[in-house]
Amino acid sequence: MPDRRDCLRSIPPRVGRDARSFLTRRAVLGFVALAGFGIPAQAAEPLTFDELYAVQGVLGLKFTEKVKTLAGQPVTMKGFMAPPLKAEAKFFVLTEIPMALCPFCSSDADWPDNIVVVYLDEKQTFVQANAPIEVDGMLEYGSWTDPETGFVSLLRLRHAQFQTV
């Protein structure tokens, strides 16, 4: 689809947050991870979008101490799966709010500042665009360019697993 419209940034809609038990989900996901995806057998630490950056200013973002401390460790995050680059891929973008526009589809849409890129071990066919999900994975921070797509990310969850909330 051509980008026949003005740049419209993703803007926060009102979304009712899922208040379901966090612990139960974590337990299930932790078990899945332990079973076969190489995540160390320790409980994944919950991490929210609000806890990613200590500073979000004009001249850049600064990671929180929590992010720095948790680097290399399993964490669990809740968010929304953005419409993927391809239906089948090894990575997708986790956003705090559902994306009204798909930056992969439309060249004038832009990603929010606080996205997290989720890397899976296997290619997977995505079906739940904009659905609320919970992701477990190994936290990694710092600028990194995906060699296949050129997609630049600041925060990643490696060896990740996800499930619809």
């Binding site: 994306m99 526009l101 060249s107 004038d108 630049v152």
Partner: protein, 582 residues
Amino acid sequence: MRRFLATLAATTFLTGAAAAATIYPIDRATILVGSPFDFKVEFSGVVKPEDVKITVNGQHYKAVFGKDLAFTEKEEKADASAVIVRGVTISDPGIYTVEATAGTETKRVVWDVYDTAATPKAKNIIFFLGDGLSVAHRTGARIMSKGVTEGKANGRLNMDMLDRMAFIGTSSVDSIAVDSANSMSAYMTGHKTSVNALGVYADRTPSSFDDPRVETIAEALRRQTGKSIGIVVTAEIEDATPAAVVSHTRRRADKAEIVEMIYNVKPDVVLGGGSAYFLPQATAGSKRKDDKDYIQLFKDAGYALATDKTELAAAAGSNQPKVLGLFHTGNMDVTLDREFLKKGTVSKFPNQPGLLEMTKVALDRLSKNPEGFFLMVEGSSVDKMSHPLDWDRSLFETIEFDKAIGLAREFAAKNPDTLIIATGDHTHGFSIIGTVDDEKPGTDMREKVGTYDKAGFPNYTDENGDGYPDKVDVTKRLAMFANNFPDYYETFRPHLDGPFVPAVQDENKKYIPNAAYKDIPGAVLRTGNIPKDGDTGVHAVDDVVLQAQGPGSEAFKGYLEESDVYRVLADVFALGKNQLGN
């Protein structure tokens, strides 16, 4: 002009029989005398270089262009030949008939190379561009801001006070519809082009940087005058409208490269959002894919940097020759969120200036140049809030835009050698049809819509006289609707929790109504009338209304196109004459 039209008629009959080549600049292009442009012929098949014949007014092309062409046998992804001559200038005004033939292919175009006044008619031009500014935005802003009693407006908008006007047709080289890139590009270069293109004609090759270029107004001002240049927007500074003042790319999305293009021209005042494209990729928050630090590069080039309202005030008074203000990583927050509701991203960027403050700083700085200035001010989010059908936010943006025009009118009162233009780049399918009255009985919001005599008058108030309604969610408010939309939940009321997001994409890449609004009392599903891959309301093809005052404004009348408006700008500033060293 009559001769030009007669030649055009002849051209129309002559072409079309043989396989058609394409020539850029296009047929009926109007070209500022002496302004550089790229000439390109795209043949529809592979031709031999020795068969290519190009004449200009019957002469060999080189006699007029003064340069040799470059021949490409097979263009990328085209399987066809092309010739290009970069940086052509024509120094004598007149009608130019250009004919290209190769084998059975032939194409003829006619250009009008125009001269300008010998001396400038105005010292300064302030060009206000309300992105997406439609008639309903003006009407709505006037009713919200001033009120109406017994059918008579209780006050006028500043734009209502501008003396002269014209209807502007905005169609594109490739479509009757238009976007902000190619519409503003036509205003800022005098050449119509294709959707998403800036400062180039859109050719058929995949690269967005090899397309045939035309001169932007900023380049023309640097080439011919010593005037200062200012760009003030609330969007990202590399967004389509501001980019059009300086840029050359087939794709407006080339934002990282557009920052470099802004840097190359070095406008004297640059204020807006979009800092993410200035930061080197190693900096968290950067949207660049290289290590260039444009914050540092601009500073090194003599710019005072401001990142919030306080720093802007300091930068305004600094002795640095230029000012760069970047107040957001992306688009700045809109007036309703920034000043009233504190929603959107205001918590992250709490001290953003508004369009009014930015325009004031720009006028103060630019007017120090005795040679005069060109200032472009964009009310960016009139459009950015109209796409998601957030009419209340869009009208607040229109009011703010209008207040900035008021500031310019005050400036022009003291500096009458100033031309003010206020226009839009396209319209939206947006209308006001009456009122919505919560006090009407029942729960069905549709039955609370008042039309004709039952509309009466809304009950907005402006006790503090700031020009904005004291409250946007009054009990009797404007009934505002789009004529095109994706599937969405209509709530018949302002969105106090943040800008409206009518639809979201599903797993099939189709847009479905955003369920976040489903349970708002009175919300009803409206089934869309645009394709399901459309996320928001679209631009209308309807004409734009341009208004103007000051020297040269008498040229605005009847029906014009954006490219004709550029011709007026060029004439008012006498851009056909070199004024450097005067």
